[in-house]
């Protein structure tokens, strides 16, 4: 398949996923409320304003990680519930292009969720946005989201259609995604100035997150076809 053909497939899959999301509103009516409730529960568990302010970046990213498991399962349930994935296979659709489409759809959904969670942490945990930290926050969040989305999409593809996928997926994703959790949390701490950190401490994390995103996105695009289509 030509590269323009691949881009076309990825674009079609992306717009299809986003359109399904707009229709079903699972993100806005279920996932975002779930993530916000998680933030509230953290506040009950870690009673104390100082602790919450100190741990806010980590809590936001843990909520992200858990929510991403639910979103990606949903993104693949759409493909398997009526056998659309089989139909895609029979149609000979280029699976690496399908990967890029589903990856970008997940990135966009996760970024929406992230904005909501950051606003939630701002309101409930008392984090503060600082001028110089905003660039770091935005770039590191985007890199982290790209990496997280890649890992989730690879393993959700592997787990789609097998028994016990709900528990297998977190088992596979969580250890691999741990550098994302560490990096995104530390970068966010630096951006917010949590615990007296300065913005410059955050830049090395952007490096870790970018390398992770590149390795797993391109690795995923190569592996996705053989994983799904065997």
């Amino acid at each position: 398949m030509s590269s323009s053909g691949r881009i076309q497939v990825a674009r079609v899959v992306l717009s299809k996923d986003l359109r399904i999301e707009r229709r079903s509103k699972v993100l806005t009516s279920q996932i975002i409320p779930f993530a916000v409730v998680t933030l509230v529960l953290f506040a009950f568990a870690l009673d104390g304003d100082a602790i919450l302010q100190r741990t806010a970046p980590g809590l936001v990213w843990i909520a992200m990680l858990f929510s991403s498991m639910i979103i990606v399962q949903r993104n693949f349930a759409v493909e398997t519930s009526d056998g659309a994935l089989d139909a895609l296979r029979v149609a000979g659709a280029d699976m690496s292009a399908v990967f890029w489409g589903k990856w970008l759809a997940l990135v966009i959904q996760l970024l929406v969720l992230e904005v909501v969670l950051l606003i939630g942490a701002f309101v409930m945990y008392g984090i503060e946005f600082r001028g110089p930290g905003v660039v770091l926050l935005v770039t590191s969040s985007i890199s982290a989201t790209c990496g997280l989305s890649a890992v989730s999409t690879i393993y959700a593809g592997l787990a789609s259609g097998v028994r016990g996928r709900e528990s297998l997926l977190p088992l596979l994703v969580m250890p691999v995604a741990s550098p994302v959790l560490i990096g995104a949390t530390r970068a966010a701490e630096a951006a917010f100035g949590t615990g007296g950190t300065v913005v410059s401490e955050g830049w090395p994390w952007l490096g870790v997150l970018s390398v992770f995103a590149v390795v797993f996105s391109f690795g995923g695009s190569l592996a996705f076809g053989p994983l799904i289509d065997d």
Binding site: V12, S24, V78, G83, D86, A87, R89, V90, A91, G92
Partner: protein, 223 residues
């Protein structure tokens, strides 16, 4: 809209001593079958006879562990992608996205393979899906309408070989007649059709040939 006809000299399906395994179970146990172009073949037989596996092998979804198979002139073991491009399959599930409308489902497939708008509209009118139905989300359709949408995708994809797993299941009798009519039309347009069904009397009316499976092999073949 004419289906693609590839290397039309060769049979549509040619399987020799094909063995297909589901885990370690031989769902096909050395099956021989030749289907000529333009036939409408009805697969019958008890549950677990291997009908679904046979259709999946022809679609390039299930590999054969032993034996030899060519579908629409392409080798199922070596040229799997070529096989897939030339066939279309509607299994028990229709492969549709529930949240999208009929038209959007078709547009998705059309965009994947680069079909034009007029081809989509033609497919929709062949299947009686134009007008009001086109903008109904698939989840709101009846079982028969969903099936027709799935067939419309086969038309858009210009599949030369239609592989249908129980296309009559879950449909009322008028919808079944509709399905039969569509299959006759597809056959007249040059497509080869293989379908599985439990309905023997329909087999005699619709099909040009009835192949009976049991135990993963062909046990009866009537034209």
């Amino acid at each position: 809209m004419e289906p693609h006809v590839h290397a039309s000299g060769s049979p549509a399906v040619e399987l020799r001593n094909a063995v297909a395994l589901i885990s370690d179970f031989p769902a096909l146990a050395g099956l021989d079958l030749t289907v000529e172009r333009g036939e409408i073949v009805m697969l019958t037989g008890p549950n677990g006879a291997g009908k679904t596996t046979l259709l999946r092998v022809c679609a390039g979804l299930t590999p054969i562990a032993r034996g030899y198979g060519r579908v629409m002139g392409a080798d199922v073991s070596i040229e799997r992608d070529e096989v897939r491009r030339r066939v279309g399959m509607v299994a028990h599930s229709n492969g549709l996205y529930d949240e999208l409308t009929v038209q959007e489902n078709l547009e998705f497939w059309g965009a994947l393979i680069g079909a034009g708008d007029d081809e989509l509209h033609q497919a929709m009118s062949i299947m009686g899906l134009d007008g009001r139905l086109a903008s109904v989300p698939v989840r709101g359709l009846s079982a028969g309408q969903r099936r027709r949408t799935a067939f419309a995708i086969l038309v858009v994809r210009r599949a030369g070989l239609w592989l249908l797993d129980e296309p009559h299941a879950g449909l009322d009798s008028s919808a079944r007649d509709e399905v039969d009519g569509i299959l006759r039309k597809a056959s007249a347009a040059g497509a080869t059709v293989m379908l599985s069904s439990h309905e023997l009397d329909r087999a005699q009316q619709l099909a040009t040939r009835e192949v009976r499976l049991a135990g993963g092999v062909v046990v009866g073949d009537e034209r």
